[in-house]
Amino acid sequence: MSAIEIRGLIKRFGKTFALEGVDLKVPEGSIYGFIGPNGAGKSTTIRILLGLLKKDEGEVHLLGGDPWRENVELHRRLAYVPSDVQLWDNMTGGEVIDFLGRLRGSYSKERRAEFIERFDLDPTKKCKTYSKGNRQKVALISAFVSDVELLILDEPSTGLDPLMEGVFQQCIKEARKAGKTVFLSSHILSQVEAVCDQIGVIRGGKIIKEGNMEELRALILQQEPPTLEALFLNYYKKGQREEGLG
């Protein structure tokens, strides 16, 4: 079973194409790394998955449903962390976590205390005084606290220090162990390499490579140095050459 399945997805903003036929499949219970350069269409794809944007063409299945028409039912079963978290200035971090938890409907006091402790967040501070990293923590805690099947994370750990980055990676591995699916869009290729078992590379609104980590491992070993980063840059340059840019 796939938690997410997209076929031939097209999205236009006016005359410009943001997505030119995206195909991808996220197996249930996996951690899927969604990587690509800036402006490749990562956030647009995610926003269509969340029913925030309307697709123009193609098929999108999220947890077996249509993300645009069945948004309320589906949102009960997922949690989302945006790349640039904006919060309510006059509310404290603790209030936001409680509010979002109650709105989603799945939430427990014990887990709340556990994750606030693990991410080392002061919940009594007003959101406007939080740094970017701390705002990100509020959204991450709110997502991990919830009892959902799918986590959609859009560059979730930007602004986190290396210590917190470690906590974050631990948390998503635990989520997988608990049977959850994680869709992780990221710029940090070392992070993707460390935790993901499936990878999709998007560029210019199209998926240019998809596969599981085991298959990619062989390709990575052929790179110099043997990292996902080198492989990614290789794909990226190849794409540029094909389009006559490089």
């Binding site: 949102h75 919060l87 509310m91 209030e95 509010f99 009594t124 501070k125 007003k126 959609i152």
Partner: protein, 526 residues
């Protein structure tokens, strides 16, 4: 010195290039306000007798509480007396916003860090903010002085008047510069500065009501434009007080700035609750958190102002009935019986349109900034819209009803006429559907053109007001004027259509419904 003030001049240039519209208003408003008051006084009181009559008869308790004693019965004396408090408030508010923006707000937004890491003295941002504040206030005062001189008000008195409000504005701005050093957040610093202005204003009213001399008054900036006695034997030596006070405050703010870390303050940030109250569990509760500030401000301001208006309007009417020039004006509005007050209430009600558009703007910002977080929750889009519609429609109705009740109550207290209460209450109440139409337009735009909502809404509001003026001058036909929701409730028509509330309510409902349908179908504006 270089360590502290290097690059102050470059920063002054940088600040001046920002917020140009704001600066333009700040520069022009005092001069325009004085000029309008001078011209209207010249028209209303063509002779010395009419002015003497007004000068004596106009001094009711409320006017005196606001403006203090009239020192000199002449056009010049009258204009300076009427404009001084407003000029100080205007200059003070502009100065406070400017100072906080370039000190604490800039630090909060990280601009302070960027500048601090660059080749700039550690005190240069504050010094540049203070210097610009003084310069802009001075330029505004010069423009006002030129306007007064051009209208023939006499140079010495005009100079005293302008120096009076210039000194007061600058000192209020410097108080904000000190407050900006004490508080960690810009909101708290701004709040403290406006709170201080509120206290000074309260003392001003208190001293005026109690009458008599008060030595402490010399330290309240709001009193300086009176104490400098324009056109009544000017006392320029008074300026020594603001000069000393200004120097002390400038030194204090720089001293505090030099002794604290970037981003730190002397008053620590208060911690909030670690847990949300049980009630904070749905979009309605969230909308209350984001809408309550503006709603309660408008509600309270309208309650107090309406009571004062109801109470004073009857005094005004009895005062102006004997002034010939005004009597003619009121006659044209359909006679003295209530017409004057009706028109005042109508204008008061129209101004609530600004609240309507503001509260719709909060919904717009909520979607733009937090739409990703909120709309990825299991909530319907229309629930988000409806949670704010409570304020756009219900809040507006509450402000109008409260205003009508308070105007009526004020009138009853002022005259002892018991029938005024229900009459004035319903006069305000019947404006509600017209304002709902403004809310409906804003919601339709929210659904269709979210990024343009606020701009187009204000544009249409101005257009409706212009249509009113053009229709009154018979420049546009009745049919065209009917497109404005205000044409259905204007007191300038002898009879308003009986179906007006129904027609307007249906129109508002259709517009808002269109907004909901469009919002459900469009991409989120994030």
């Amino acid at each position: 010195m270089k360590r502290y003030f290097h690059a102050t001049l470059s920063l002054m240039g940088l600040y001046l290039r920002q917020n140009r519209i704001f600066t333009l208003f700040w520069l022009l408003a005092p001069g325009v306000w004085v000029a309008i008051n001078t011209v209207s006084s010249l028209v209303l009181f063509p002779t010395q007798e009419s002015l003497v009559e007004m000068g004596v008869s106009l001094i009711d308790p409320l006017t005196e509480a606001m403006h203090g004693p009239l020192l000199e019965v002449s056009i010049a004396g009258f204009v300076t007396w009427r404009t001084k408090v407003f000029l100080v408030l205007l200059g003070g508010i502009f100065s406070i916003i400017h100072m906080i923006r370039h000190t604490r707000l800039a630090e909060e937004q990280g601009k302070g860090e960027l500048l601090g890491a660059n080749v700039a003295g550690s005190l240069a941002p504050l010094a540049a903010g203070v210097a610009n504040m003084a310069l802009i206030n001075a330029a505004a005062a010069i423009l006002a002085l030129l306007a007064m001189a051009a209208l023939g008000l006499g140079l010495m008195g005009s100079l005293a008047h302008c120096l009076g409000f210039l000194a007061a504005s600058c000192v209020l701005g410097l108080l904000a510069a000190v407050a900006a050093q004490l508080f960690v957040s810009a909101t708290a610093a701004r709040g403290a500065s406006f709170g201080m202005l509120g206290v000074l204003f309260g003392l001003h009213i208190l001293w005026n009501v109690s009458g008599g001399e008060n030595r402490l008054a010399y330290f309240n900036p709001l009193e300086w434009p009176l104490l400098i006695r324009p056109f009544a034997g000017e006392r320029f030596s008074l300026l020594l007080i603001p000069l000393t006070l200004g120097a002390v405050l400038t030194a204090l703010s720089l001293w505090l700035m030099a002794r604290r870390d970037l981003g730190a303050g002397l008053v620590p940030q208060r911690a909030g609750p670690a847990f949300a109250k049980p009630g904070l569990r749905n979009l309605q509760a969230l909308a209350w958190r984001t809408q309550k500030g503006p709603f309660l401000s408008w509600f309270c301001f309208y309650a107090i102002f309406s009571f004062a208006l109801g109470y004073a309007s009857y005094l005004m009417v009895s005062a102006v009935s004997s002034a010939e020039a005004l009597a003619g004006l009121i006659e044209r509005l359909g006679g003295i019986e209530g017409a004057f007050l009706s028109l005042m209430l109508y204008v008061l009600g129209l101004l609530i349109s600004v609240y309507v558009i503001m509260s719709a703007g909060i919904l717009g910002r909520e979607e733009a900034a937090k739409g990703e977080t909120l709309l990825s929750m299991p909530v319907r889009r229309e629930s988000l819209l409806l949670s704010h519609t409570v304020y756009i429609f219900g809040g507006t109705a509450a402000v109008l009803l409260m205003s009508g009740f308070c105007v009526g109550l004020g009138a009853v207290v002022g005259t002892g006429d018991g029938s005024a209460l229900s009459r004035l209450f319903f006069e305000m109440a019947k404006m509600i559907p017209a304002l709902w139409v403004i809310g409906g337009i804003a919601l339709l735009l929210f659904g269709g053109l979210p990024r343009w909502m606020t701009g187009i809404s204000y544009g249409l509001l101005i257009l409706f007001v212009l249509m009113e003026i053009l229709w009154e001058q018979q420049q546009i036909p009745e049919v065209l004027y009917a497109l404005s929701p205000f044409s259905w409730i204007t007191p300038l028509k002898a009879v308003q259509p009986a179906a007006a509330p129904l027609v307007l309510s249906i129109a508002a409902l259709l517009l808002a419904g269109g907004g909901v349908i469009l919002f459900r179908q469009r991409d989120a504006a994030i």
